[in-house]
C-alpha cells in the first residue's frame, strides 16, 4: 500500500489562506439579512449543552470546596467553604476514607483492564467469524447483540438471580448438573463478587465491541484479502497484517469509549449488589463515591472524589490520544 503514489495535495494552510484572501478581497462585505440565523440555530444546542453538561459539572466542582452535609442540604449557599479540605480527606491514605477510596480505585483498575480486554477480544473474534457471508449469519448477528438490546436493569437483575447461592442457576449448573465437588460458593458477597461483576460487565459490553468492529470490517475491501491469499497469506497473517491495521481508526475510538464507560460503570454494581451491601471486592469507584456521599450525607467529600476521578480520566484520555496521534503521524 505504501507503494501507491498519491498526487501531491495542496498544503492545507495554503487553502485556508486562499479562502481568507478571497473573503477579504470582497472587502467590508455588508452584513446580509438573516446574519443572526446561524447563531439562533446554534443557540438551543449551546443552551442545552450548558444546562446538561457545563452547569452540573461546575456545580460539582463548587460543591467539592464546601462542607455540604445534612445541616446545609436544604440551603446550599450557607454551607461553609473549606478550600481543599475535602480533597485532603479523600487523599489521606492513612485515614479510613482515603484508604477505602484507594482500594476502590485499584479494584476499578483491575476490573477495567479485564472487562475492556476480554470484551474487545470477544467482539473481534465474533466480528471476524461473521465477516464472510454464510447461511444463518443474520441469526448469529442478532443473537450476539441481544445483551446490548436488553434493558440494562432487567439483564443485570437476571444475573443477580442466577448468582444466588442456593437457588441460582450458576451454582445449579456447576454443582448439581456438572457435579463439581465441594460446597456451593457465594457469588455476590466475599471475593467471588469481583468475578461475578466482571462476568456481568463483559456480558453487557462485548456486543458493543462486536457491533463497532463488524461495522468497521465492512470498509475493508475484499480484494485485499484475495490478493494476500494469492501471495500465500494464512488467515492469522491476514488478520494481523490487513484486518488489524485497517481497523485502527475504529479501534482507537472503541477502546477509549469502552475504557471510559467501564471505569465509570455505576449500573452494574448498583443493580447486582443492591443499594445496601457492597462487597469490598466489587467496590467500583462510581458506586463507591455514591455510597460515600449518601451513606453519611457528606456531599462535599463525594464531590471531591468525583472531581479527582474526572481529573484522572482526563489525564489518561489525553495521554492515550497523544500517544495514538503521535504514532499515527509517525506511521
Amino acid at each position: 500500500m505504501s507503494a501507491t503514489t498519491v498526487p501531491p495535495q495542496p498544503d492545507s494552510s495554503t487553502v485556508t489562506k486562499r479562502v481568507t484572501s478571497r473573503g477579504s478581497k470582497n472587502g467590508q462585505h455588508r452584513r446580509l439579512g438573516g446574519w443572526w440565523l446561524p447563531y439562533a440555530l446554534l443557540a438551543p444546542a449551546i443552551l442545552f449543552e450548558l444546562l446538561i453538561h457545563i452547569v452540573p459539572m461546575a456545580t460539582g466542582v463548587w460543591v467539592s470546596f464546601i462542607k455540604l452535609t445534612q445541616i446545609y442540604l436544604r440551603n446550599w449557599g450557607a454551607a461553609p467553604f473549606v478550600g481543599l479540605g475535602n480533597y485532603s480527606v479523600s487523599l489521606d491514605f492513612n485515614s479510613a476514607i482515603g484508604k477505602s477510596l484507594l482500594n476502590s480505585f485499584l479494584v476499578t483498575c483491575g476490573f477495567t483492564v479485564l472487562v475492556v480486554g476480554i470484551s474487545w477480544g470477544l467482539g473481534m473474534a465474533a466480528a471476524v467469524a461473521l465477516q464472510r457471508a454464510f447461511r444463518g449469519r443474520g441469526l448469529f448477528r442478532t443473537l450476539f447483540l441481544i445483551p446490548y438490546a436488553i434493558p440494562i436493569y432487567a439483564g443485570i437483575i437476571t444475573w443477580k438471580f442466577m448468582f444466588q447461592k442456593d437457588t441460582g442457576a450458576v451454582n445449579h449448573l456447576l454443582f448439581d448438573n456438572l457435579g463439581l465437588p465441594g460446597d456451593k460458593p457465594f457469588w455476590l458477597i466475599g471475593d467471588n463478587a469481583f468475578l461475578a461483576i466482571v462476568i456481568v460487565a463483559i456480558w453487557r459490553l462485548w456486543p458493543f465491541a462486536f457491533l463497532m468492529l463488524m461495522a468497521g470490517l465492512q470498509s475493508v475491501p475484499q480484494d485485499v484479502y484475495e490478493a494476500s491469499a494469492v501471495d500465500g497469506a494464512k488467515p492469522l497473517r491476514q488478520w494481523s497484517s490487513i484486518t488489524l491495521p485497517m481497523l485502527r481508526p475504529v479501534n482507537v475510538v472503541l477502546v477509549l469509549v469502552m475504557f471510559l464507560w467501564t471505569f465509570n460503570d455505576f449500573n452494574t454494581p448498583f443493580v447486582l449488589f443492591g443499594s445496601t451491601a457492597q462487597p469490598p471486592a466489587g467496590d467500583l469507584i462510581s458506586f463507591h463515591i455514591y455510597n460515600a456521599s449518601f451513606l453519611t450525607w457528606n456531599f462535599g467529600t463525594g464531590a471531591a472524589m468525583s472531581v479527582l476521578l474526572l481529573l484522572f480520566l482526563l489525564v489518561v484520555t489525553s495521554a492515550y490520544l497523544l500517544f495514538v496521534n503521535r504514532r499515527s503521524k509517525r506511521a
Binding site: 445534612q70 457465594f186 451513606l295
Partner: protein, 439 residues
C-alpha cells in the same frame, strides 16, 4: 426564502423557550398555596410496614379513602421499602420537592430534625393535631432531640422480641430462654438436620445496627458521650458486636446463607417455614408470620435475653414509625389535618391490628394481638426494658456506617473468613471517622 427560514427559526426558538419555561414552572411543584381542601392532593410516603409493599397499599387505601370522604382532601400514596427510604427522604430534603407527609423511623427523629427541612410541631401545630398529651410520652420523646421542638409525632409503636417455635422447643425439651447463655445453648441444640437455631437478616443494615446497639447497651456501653461525640471503639461495644457476630461465627446457630438476607421478612419467612427455630424481630412480625402460613398458636415470644452478668437489662429500644411534614409543603393546614386523622383513636385502632403495632396514644389498649402473653411481653419491653438509640444529628450515619460494616463482617464469616475483635474495632474506627468527617 431566507425570510421563511428566519420565521421558522424564530418559531422554533419561541416554542423551545415556552417548553423550558413550562418545565421550570411545572417543576416548582405544589401549585398555589393552601387553597380549599377539595382542590388539594397531599402526597404521602408510607414506609413498608406490612408483609409487602402491595399489602401496605391494600391496608392503607381504604383508610385514606375514608379521610378523603371526610375532608375532601385527596391523598396520593407511595409505599417505600426500608432500604430506599433514607435516600428518598434525602433527595426530597435537598431538592425541596417530594411528599407533603412522610413516614420516618423514629430513631431518625433527631437527625432529620437537624436538617431543618421539616415543619415543627410547635404549640399551634401540636394543638391542630390534638395536643401533645394524646401521645404516650416514651413514644413522643423517642422521636427527636431532647429539649427541641419535635418535628415528628409517633404513628406506630414497635418493640423487639425473641420469637420461638413452640413445637420445636417442646420436642427438644427446652424452656424459652431467659438469659443470653440459655438462648445460645437452646439455639445450638436446635441447630440440627439442616435446621438452624436462629434466623437473622444479616445483610440488613437497619437490623444489624439495632442488635449492635442492644448488645452494646446490655454491656453498659453508649455510642456517644455526653457532649454528643462518637465513642464507637470502646471495649464494651466491641464485645457486644462480637457476641452478636458469634451467633454465626462461633456458635454457628445461624445459616451462613442469611448473610444475603437484606430484609427482615426473609428471616421471618425462614422462621415461619420451620427452617429456623427462633427469630429476633419487632412485633410487626406477627403479620408476616401469619402471611407465611404459621398459626399464631404455634409460636411464643419472650424478651430479648441479656447475659447473666449484663450491666443493664435492655431488651429493645422504643422503636416505631413517626409522621413528619415537610416544611416546603404548600398545604400545611391540610397536612396537619391528615396527621391528626392518622393519629386519631379511630385510625389507630384500625391500623394497629394489620401492622401489629403497639399503641402510641395515651390510655389506648394494645390491640395488635389477641394473645395476652405476647402483648404483655412487648409492652413490658417497650415500657420497662428499653433504651433509646442515640438522639443526635449524626444518628443516620451512625446507623448506616456500623450497620453496613456488620453486613460485610457477616459476609466475611459466611464466605469462610474470620472476624476478630481487632477487625470489629477497625470497622468501628472507620465508621467513627466517617461520622466525624460529617459532623
Amino acid at each position: 426564502m431566507g425570510k421563511t427560514r428566519a420565521i421558522l427559526a424564530a418559531t422554533a426558538i419561541a416554542a423551545l423557550t415556552l417548553t423550558t419555561a413550562a418545565c421550570s414552572s411545572g417543576g416548582g411543584g405544589g401549585g398555589s398555596s393552601s387553597g380549599s381542601d377539595k382542590d388539594t392532593t397531599l402526597t404521602y410516603w408510607a414506609s413498608n410496614q406490612g408483609t409487602s409493599i402491595q399489602n401496605d397499599k391494600d391496608v392503607l387505601t381504604p383508610v385514606l379513602d375514608k379521610f378523603t370522604q371526610k375532608t375532601g382532601i385527596k391523598v396520593k400514596l407511595e409505599v417505600i421499602g426500608w432500604n430506599d427510604l433514607q435516600t428518598r427522604i434525602q433527595t426530597a430534603v435537598s431538592s425541596g420537592q417530594g411528599p407533603d407527609v412522610v413516614n420516618i423511623g423514629n430513631t431518625w427523629g433527631a437527625w432529620l430534625q437537624s436538617t431543618g427541612a421539616f415543619a415543627e410541631f410547635n404549640d399551634a401545630n401540636m394543638k391542630a393535631i390534638g395536643g401533645a398529651d394524646k401521645f404516650v410520652k416514651t413514644a413522643l420523646d423517642a422521636g427527636g432531640a431532647p429539649g427541641k421542638t419535635p418535628t415528628s409525632v409517633p404513628l406506630y409503636g414497635l418493640a423487639y422480641g425473641l420469637y420461638y417455635n413452640k413445637a420445636m422447643f417442646a420436642d427438644a425439651g427446652l424452656q424459652p430462654p431467659t438469659t443470653w447463655e440459655e438462648f445460645v445453648a437452646a439455639a445450638k441444640q436446635l441447630t440440627t438436620g439442616g435446621k438452624y437455631g436462629l434466623a437473622l437478616a444479616a445483610a440488613s443494615y437497619t437490623e444489624n445496627i439495632h442488635f449492635a446497639f442492644l448488645t452494646a447497651a446490655q454491656n453498659g456501653a453508649s455510642f456517644y458521650d455526653k457532649d454528643g461525640k462518637p465513642t464507637f471503639t470502646s471495649q464494651p461495644i466491641v464485645d457486644g458486636l462480637s457476641r452478636y457476630l458469634a451467633l454465626m461465627q462461633t456458635d454457628k446457630v445461624v445459616n451462613p446463607g442469611n448473610a444475603q438476607y437484606d430484609n427482615g421478612t426473609q428471616a421471618i419467612a425462614d422462621f415461619a417455614s420451620g427452617k429456623a427455630a427462633m427469630v429476633l424481630s419487632q412485633n410487626n412480625a406477627d403479620a408476616s408470620i401469619k402471611a407465611d402460613g404459621m398459626s399464631p398458636d404455634d409460636y411464643g415470644v419472650v424478651a430479648l435475653p441479656s447475659p447473666k452478668n449484663a450491666k443493664a437489662e435492655v431488651a429493645t429500644f422504643p422503636a416505631g414509625i413517626n409522621l413528619s411534614i415537610f416544611k416546603y409543603t404548600k398545604h400545611l393546614s391540610q397536612a396537619l389535618k391528615f396527621v391528626k386523622y392518622m393519629t386519631s383513636e379511630d385510625t389507630q385502632s384500625t391500623l394497629d391490628k394489620p401492622y401489629a403495632a403497639l399503641p402510641v396514644l395515651a390510655g389506648a389498649k394494645a390491640s395488635f394481638t389477641d394473645n395476652a402473653d405476647e402483648a404483655k411481653v412487648f409492652l413490658d419491653a417497650y415500657n420497662n426494658k428499653s433504651k433509646p438509640l442515640p438522639q443526635v444529628a449524626t444518628e443516620g450515619s451512625f446507623e448506616s456506617t456500623i450497620g453496613k460494616g456488620l453486613s460485610q463482617e457477616f459476609a466475611t464469616i459466611a464466605t469462610g473468613g474470620t472476624v476478630s475483635d481487632a477487625d470489629i474495632k477497625a470497622m468501628l474506627k472507620t465508621a467513627q471517622e466517617q461520622v466525624e468527617a460529617q459532623g
